[in-house]
């Protein structure tokens, strides 16, 4: 444990935490736009700046990137910090005057409009990098990246073409604080050519990355529930059986064998990708299937193969 001073209060924090985490654990609110617990600290939005006194020197740094140290004295809302934050918000306001989260922040800090002398743009992306980092660090797809440098910096798919590594998971749209990443699921679409139209089944579209991917339909309930490439990626990462994602999570349960109906043919056992089924001797020549749930991944392949519909 490390002891440091936060706004004049001595607090105990576990080692390795950041100042931001320490502040939040102690009920001190620091505004952020680019931090997310699931992602590595990045420090792009500069809103979470704090004054850090370390020994004899005082520095200003982002609390989301600065690890706690014994004896640090941190001020999270000194006049200098508030002034710095205000101008950063004003600069954001000039960039993205129509983004809700920026408007909300501006209201909290009592900023009506950005200064008249500043130019105004109408960008929706605030370049916080959450989408890029989620795609790289969590999904590990690496489908989108920053492109350009400095004032030309944007988030884009490679060469502004279809993002080929995109698995259409939609994490980017989920983490985006401004809502500029559009994720749309279609019940059914059709691929139309001069020769005629062909239905393609349910699809997910991510317009920003020019991506359209098929959605997997649950073999049990018939609902389209997740994009195919995403499921394939998880399956490969986790080394899961091929049939694992045939069933959607809400239909997924451990199979139960109806012993009345079971013939003991062993088809389910042969077919089980994880060896979770075995035939138990029930005396005489009678054998019945038994599910060992510790091995079972609830892929339901046994249910689909059973000739007697004895597994459900």
């Amino acid at each position: 444990m490390v002891i440091l001073t936060l706004d004049g209060k001595k607090v105990k924090v576990k080692e390795g935490a950041t100042i931001l985490e320490a502040a939040r654990a102690n009920g001190i609110e620091i505004p952020t736009l680019c931090s997310n617990e699931a992602l590595k600290p990045y420090g792009a939005c500069r809103l979470c700046i704090v004054e850090i006194r370390r020994g004899t020197s005082t520095i200003i740094d982002t609390s989301c990137t600065y690890p706690v140290e014994e004896g640090l004295e941190v001020k999270t809302a000194s006049p200098r910090i508030i002034e710095g934050r205000k101008i950063v918000i004003e600069l954001f306001l000039a960039r993205s005057p129509n983004v809700k989260i920026i408007r909300k922040l501006a209201d909290e800090y009592g900023i009506g409009e950005s200064a008249r002398e500043m130019g105004k743009d109408n960008e929706y992306c605030i370049l916080c990098g959450l989408c890029v980092r989620a795609c790289n660090e969590v999904v590990k797809a690496g489908a989108i990246q920053f492109a350009g440098k400095g004032l030309q910096k944007v988030v884009d798919s490679p060469f502004s073409q279809t993002a080929e590594d995109c698995v259409a998971c939609g994490s980017c749209a989920f983490v985006c604080p401004t809502g500029i990443i559009k994720k749309t699921d279609f019940e059914s679409t059709a691929l139309c050519t001069p020769q005629g139209c062909e239905p393609t089944g349910p699809q997910r579209q991510l317009l920003n990355w020019k991506v359209e991917q098929k959605l997997r339909v649950c073999k049990k309930c018939g609902n389209a529930y997740a994009p195919e490439p995403h499921l394939d990626k998880i399956r490969q990462q986790q080394n899961l059986p091929n049939e694992f994602f045939d069933i959607c999570p809400s239909c997924r349960k451990y199979p139960v064998v109806d012993e009345e109906k079971c013939l003991g043919c062993g088809g389910c056992m042969e077919n089980c990708p994880c060896g979770a089924l075995e035939l138990d001797d029930k005396g005489g020549y009678e054998k019945k299937a038994h599910v060992y749930t510790q091995n079972c991944t609830a892929c339901h392949s046994c249910e689909l193969i059973c000739p007697m519909v004895a597994i459900s």
Partner: protein, 570 residues
């Protein structure tokens, strides 16, 4: 020949001395980029042709730049037993005449800049004497180089070989006590002693921040890691200087030696040179130097039988200004975005590929061999008490003579501009100057009395930085300068930090409208507000100093800025 022992180095040294003062004639052409731009390539070809035509037994070689960039193309002639003559501004048309004069043993008086009677090596143990016996009258009329102001005020420690040796021949480097420092370190010192020596020298980083090199090295030495790296920062994204370029083009082995010593001190076995991609010739020469060093056994496994192994790779960067920032450089080396990383952890703890890394400026590393040879205490007495050693200063802008010179720290800026640059061009007055590249403040002429050291320049609102010295004459439009420098930062910001990216964008707009006569007092107030926030909230030195030039123009040239404001509004 493979160098396995220190004695082998001595043998090669003798070979090198023969190359430097041959029994025939040696003609050298200053063929660094500055010379090439002025036609040194053609002069070299013409010399080779003429030498053949006039049947003169002479060897024509390319060397680097000796600092007299304004007098390029520079040709030097070494004749057995005669002083080494330096000719400046040699055009192709005069090459025939030059070779004829060499044949006749005469001197071309109008082109001759200086003569040099002998060359002392770094340690002073070896003297290459060119002139033997009495100096003929024609030669004696040419000034000795030490009597020229240009050399009198210089102290050549780092750039001592530049312009003298052929950068593509390792023997010539060894001739002037090259690799002696490495030999001394590997055979007689342990890593802690090396670091102690560097600490005693009070050497500070020559890149921008001026961090004490000894502290950096000992932090990296103490850090735990299965591998460590030495990274040489040759990014040099500043628009007006090319010292690293000139350096690698003139004396690449000195950098290699410095890196190997750093590697030994911190416990690293691999080094990287991050080089600006625009430096084509420098890249060719450093690659060749590395190959030569490897072939000679001065790089690679078990150097000089000490058990220490070190290898160097060169990585070319895109030349972005931000990649001179050490953590952005590390990102670029790893192949990702050239964006600064959050600090802490510092590179000395977790740097390249998450391993302890020491990142040093090219000039810092090139200073190390001299410190090892002459001792840290000796070095600490050069310069001032707080800023020790020498610094290469590159003069550019409206100076009469664009050049670079190595001066002991503590020299006044006025002396530097007057001696080496010969004042402003066309007899004009100096109006302002900027030190340390684009991040430095633009200071007015009365501040010319400032001394070139870390502290004075920092307290004046500028920095020593990379040692660039940009001179502006009386006709310079200061608002234009502010606009140029703000455009530069807007162009070079990596775009990660919101404050730097958006701040640069707005500053660019505001200074643009002031320049067009649309500005008001509110514009100036807004510049100050944005500048303060950028300095406080940006992550790296680029963002923190992006507003320094514009602020310094506002501070030192307020009348000129106010004159540009909208009429009736001030």
């Amino acid at each position: 020949m493979k160098i396995k022992k220190v004695d082998d180095l001595k043998k090669i040294q003798q070979e090198g001395i023969k190359l430097l003062s041959p029994s025939t004639v040696r003609i050298t052409v200053g063929a660094a980029t500055c010379g090439m731009a002025k036609g040194a390539g053609k002069v070299y070809e013409a010399l080779k042709y003429e030498v053949k035509k006039q049947k003169v037994k002479a060897e024509v070689v390319c060397v680097g730049c000796n600092g007299l960039c304004y007098a390029e193309p520079i040709v030097e002639v070494v004749r057995a037993g005669r002083p080494r003559l330096t000719y400046g501004r040699v055009s192709v048309g005069r090459v025939g005449e030059l070779v004829t004069s060499i044949k006749a043993g005469a001197v071309l008086r109008d082109l001759a800049l200086m003569r040099r009677d002998e060359e002392k090596s770094a340690l002073g143990t070896v003297t290459v004497s060119y002139a033997k016996g009495k100096i003929p009258k024609a030669y004696a009329q040419v000034k000795e180089y030490r009597k020229l102001d240009f050399y009198k005020l210089q102290m050549k420690l780092v750039s001592k070989n530049a312009g003298t040796i052929n950068p593509e021949v390792i023997e010539e480097y060894i001739a002037l006590d090259g690799y002696q420092a490495l030999a001394k370190v590997l055979t007689t010192m342990n890593p802690e002693e090396v670091i102690a020596e560097v600490s005693a020298s009070k050497l500070r980083g020559r890149g921008g921040a001026g961090f004490p090199t000894g502290v950096k090295w000992s932090a990296c030495r103490k850090a735990q890691g299965d591998a460590k790296y030495v990274v040489c920062n040759g990014s040099e994204g500043d628009p007006e200087i090319g010292m690293h370029r000139s350096f690698l083009e003139s004396d690449p082995h000195l950098v290699i030696e410095g890196m190997a010593i750093a590697g030994y001190a911190v416990g690293a076995e691999e080094g990287y040179i991050y080089l600006n991609d625009r430096y084509q010739l420098a890249h060719t020469r450093i690659e060749r130097a590395i190959t030569q060093a490897e072939e000679s056994g001065l790089l690679g496994k078990n150097i000089l039988g000490s058990g220490f192994s070190f290898s160097i790779k060169v990585k070319r960067g895109g030349g972005a200004y931000v990649c001179g920032e050490e953590t952005a450089l590390l990102n670029a080396l790893e192949g990702t975005f050239g964006e600064p990383r959050p600090r802490p952890p510092y590179p000395a703890e977790r740097g390249l590929f998450e391993k302890p890394t020491v990142v040093n400026n090219l000039e810092t590393l090139a200073t190390v061999p001299t410190i090892m040879l002459k001792g840290g205490k000796w070095f600490s007495q050069v310069g001032t008490a707080a800023s020790t050693g020498t610094k290469i200063v590159a003069l550019s802008g409206n100076v009469a003579q664009a050049c670079w010179a190595e001066v002991p720290l503590g020299m006044s800026i006025k002396a530097i501009i007057d001696t080496f640059g010969r004042g402003a061009a066309d007899g004009k007055k100096v109006k302002a100057f900027q030190t340390g590249g684009p991040s430095g403040g633009v200071l007015p002429a009365p501040m010319l009395k400032l001394k070139l050291d870390y502290q004075q320049l920092t307290s004046a609102g500028s920095l020593l930085g990379s040692g660039g010295l940009l001179v502006m004459d009386e006709d310079t439009d200061m608002v234009g300068v502010a606009k140029f420098l703000t455009d530069f930062f807007a162009d070079e910001s990596c775009g990660k930090c919101s404050s730097c990216r958006e701040g640069c964008r707005r500053l660019q707009e505001i200074i643009g409208s002031i320049r067009e006569g649309q500005g008001t007092k509110e514009h100036i107030a807004l510049i100050k507000r944005i500048a303060a926030a950028m300095a406080d909230t940006s992550a790296c030195a680029l963002g923190k100093t992006a507003a320094v030039p514009i602020l310094s123009v506002l501070k030192h040239f307020p009348k000129e800025v106010e004159g540009k404001l909208m009429k009736g509004m001030h």
